[in-house]
């Protein structure tokens, strides 16, 4: 897996079909989402579960991508320990061709774009530090 760039351009997300998103609050308020193409989500969830998942089993794929964003933000929470603390909400899963995740004007938003096995995926982060 390689990180291929940071974009502040929402159009890059137009490639993705499935996203798992969750909010967090505390020392930092914000939300994060991980977005995949349909094909890649099946591969990622299969790898997570260490078995081939049925591409038509929406529930297993949803649960898997939901778990991905949980683990990523959970890990970030651990890495922030001692500096600030966040409480993590429950994820939702969004399915739809070319959906975009936007935030209100004035909220910093960054997309981290990764490449894994020739598939691009994205991690979106929007946040506001509470003073």
């Amino acid at each position: 897996m390689t990180k291929v760039g940071n974009y502040l351009d929402k159009s890059v997300l137009k490639k993705f079909t499935i996203s798992a998103m969750l909010g967090f609050s505390g020392g930092i308020n914000g939300n994060s989402a991980v977005s995949f193409t349909k094909e890649h989500s099946i591969a990622v969830v299969s790898s997570l579960l260490q078995e081939m998942v049925d591409p038509n089993n929406e529930e297993v794929i949803n649960d898997g991508v939901g778990e991905m964003v949980n683990m990523i933000v959970g890990m970030a929470k651990t890495l922030m320990a001692g500096k600030t603390d966040i409480n993590i909400a429950l994820p939702i899963i969004i399915m739809g061709d070319g959906h975009a995740i936007c935030v209100r004007e004035g909220t910093p938003q960054v997309f981290l774009i990764y490449k894994a096995d020739e598939h691009l995926f994205s991690i979106q982060l929007a946040f506001k530090i509470e003073s």
């Binding site: 505390g26 308020n29 949803n62 939702i92 969004i94 739809g96 975009a100």
Partner: protein
């Protein structure tokens, strides 16, 4: 004390939607029904999403068809917006912010305080929102006076 899902968890969100529309958005709405996600599915174009953390944990999403999202934000801002653009996206973020803020106030009155995260807005024709299979997901459908529908989706869990 046992928590009644419909009375203690769903009703405050329904009230918050009514309060926000009554005071800030001059569009008549009526609750059409509440369903579990397994019973009823909606696919709209614009969703305002907010995370909730605390004694009550989860996500609220308020989903609109594109045309209604423009009407709602027009009513909120008091200016006619004909086309779907960033102003509408911002406005839908504000709508979910106001609804969750009012719900937070109502839950505090019931001793079930929570914090809200930052709003995000999902834009995409006919997108579908669900949650993990172990989290109850409730859909509340509202209808406007013109017969357009929108939905509030709640994925909530009480933390003990």
């Amino acid at each position: 004390m046992a928590i009644s899902v419909s009375k203690d968890l769903i009703a405050p969100f329904v009230d918050a939607v009514s309060n926000v529309f009554n005071t800030m958005i001059d569009i008549q709405i009526e609750k059409q029904g509440a369903y579990l996600l397994e019973e009823h599915k909606v696919q709209y174009d614009v969703s305002g999403v907010m995370g909730i953390t605390g004694k009550l944990s989860g996500t609220i999403a308020v989903s609109f068809p594109k045309k209604l999202s423009c009407q709602v934000v027009s009513a909120l801002l008091g200016e006619k917006l004909e086309t779907f653009d960033e102003t509408v996206v911002d406005g839908i973020g504000e709508v979910v912010n106001m609804i969750s803020g009012d719900a937070k106030r109502l839950f505090e009155n019931n001793g079930m305080g929570f914090e809200i995260s930052l709003p995000a807005v999902v834009v995409g024709s006919n997108h579908k929102i669900s949650s993990k299979s172990n989290v109850p997901h409730v859909l509340i459908v509202f209808q406007t006076g013109d017969g357009d529908e929108f939905a509030v989706q709640l994925a909530l869990q009480v933390e003990y």
